[in-house]
Symmetry: C2
Amino acid sequence: MKSRVTLKQVAARASVSYQTVSKVINQKVRISPEAEQRIWEAVEDLGYTPSYTARSLRSQRSQTIGYTWQPSPPDQANPILDLFLQSMFSSAEKKGYYLLCFPYLEQEKLLDAYRLLIDSGRVDAFVLSSIDYDDPCIQFLNDQKFPFAAFGRLDGNFHFPYIDVDGGLGIKIAANHLLSLSHRNIAILAWPHNSRVGDNRIEGYVSAMQSAGIEVHPEWVQRGEGTYNVGFNLTLKLLSLAENIRPTGIIAMNDLMAIGAMAAIRHCGLMPGKDIAVTGFDDTPTARFLRPPLTSLRQPIWEIGQHLMDRLIDYLENGRYPEPFEELIAPQLIIRESSTGIEAKGELF
Amino acid sequence: MKSRVTLKQVAARASVSYQTVSKVINQKVRISPEAEQRIWEAVEDLGYTPSYTARSLRSQRSQTIGYTWQPSPPDQANPILDLFLQSMFSSAEKKGYYLLCFPYLEQEKLLDAYRLLIDSGRVDAFVLSSIDYDDPCIQFLNDQKFPFAAFGRLDGNFHFPYIDVDGGLGIKIAANHLLSLSHRNIAILAWPHNSRVGDNRIEGYVSAMQSAGIEVHPEWVQRGEGTYNVGFNLTLKLLSLAENIRPTGIIAMNDLMAIGAMAAIRHCGLMPGKDIAVTGFDDTPTARFLRPPLTSLRQPIWEIGQHLMDRLIDYLENGRYPEPFEELIAPQLIIRESSTGIEAKGELF
DNA sequence: ATAGTAAATGCGAACGTTCGCATAAGTTAA
DNA sequence: TTAACTTATGCGAACGTTCGCATTTACTAT
């Protein structure tokens, strides 16, 4: 490990003071072209790279964004994590920022972790994701007036910059898709009461149905945790409804429930896709491998990560958030056999 | 954002010099109990947190480990990423280290990225993963004598600290599993020639077969890229072999090939699990959702990440790598219906 | 008592920048 | 020619630590 090349060495070689070199490098000052050229040559020759640490000590900014996230359960990978991270730090790197990852802990200790990173000056801002109703971090960062941006929103009194997927719109798109396939009795596997995300999505469903002039039967809205088993059981319930209100299309709020639904449909001797159309949400990588492949709503995650970073850094550099402060992005419906019943031609992939 | 509490403020409150406070905090010196108590009280009262930046400027260490990885293809999530990252930074955090993530780029630019992080003093070491034969980073870091540790190994002249999954042993375990189920004709879907990882795994297969006194028929070793289509086609080929050498068990080197194999088995009117046993490698989250659920080899990824970090930090703090320098960890065989043919009782999950 | 040693604390310097003001040189207007 | 500006560069200080050595104080042994 060779020892560091410093400003002073560059300055000596270019016959100027080291402070001048600093200014030229940071484009803080206009200088005679000859001197400037000498400086850049010296930088080149010596292979000078500014010390990140010294720079950030002096300027009191770490050029680092902190991020932690809830680990996915061991039996179930988070399919968007990779893309989300890559989108964030590739966006960040372009502006000289990096992403610092730290462990996700239980509430009390998590706040300490945030506090430590803030107080030690290791990060300039945070990104939060999959935020919760009772997420203490939002409150905490807000109180501290520490910059952050979130993937996901919260209703209530907090105002903070976020980007979120417009779940309501997504469900509406899915419902319209089923409507366009001439389904009339369309049910939804929704989340328990008092879930903001869930309620918002239900609105999309109701709105699509109303626009099509269909009255939503109360039994069509089934609620439960977003698990396979719940999807399975709720679907059994739906399929045992009286003929005239029995759904021919089922919209699930995540893929896992949709998988459960398809299993239940099979269990009743019916064919998912052919007899009952099913759509999921998230477009997990599993979706395309299922039989039949699952129609699902995909989040434009790359875009989300990029916007999040760009706006956060914009704020750090300019002191104000660019518009829009709160942003909703439409998910994209990936149509497969589980809703159309039509086997895709060509390659399976 | 309140302004920072510094050593000097703590010192003033405790009526000692600020350098003494520094020493007490870093446990560099013994001091009178009264003074020590005064200092800790002052630290507590003022809520002092050392400035990471100042500390690392002075001590010339960033307490940061850099990591980048090849993004997974958009249609296929990396199932172990989350766990791997979490294991690394939770291990790192315990010793005051953090993980800095940066974008993965093409060869030439990637080296520049590494160089920049090194020269700017942003990181003290790197973790590498899924390293390649012609990976220029290994060479580069070796030349620079910059500390790093890898998940995965390389044969050749390079010696560096790594941890890897013992693929050969894994395949051997899988083969023994099939042998214990009375299979004799066992084929393997392997990787193209000249793949170190692939060759190593084939050795495990051959060794298990030999121990069981079975001669490996040349046709049983089929090679190709690890894709669904390749798995499908190679399996068709295997199933068209003469009765006496037709395999009843197929070991695939990854889950995707195994999925292709199961599809081919079905295509021939046979039942995977019942008629032909199949095993995969990686235990992707998909594996349990398949029909039938896929027996597969799981990498103990949490353990790997932890060991990697612990050893890297050990090196950074003590200047020498702990033993063993190179470490192989056995994968774990997760047995499901695709090999046993026995439908699991109880919950699907 | 007095030198000798050990323990406790202080002090100056350094890590490599950026920042703002001071100064020197060059240019224009009276 | 000289005052009044502009422009280019230099200089000292500061960011908040850690490090090694110097100093003070207290204690033991002669």
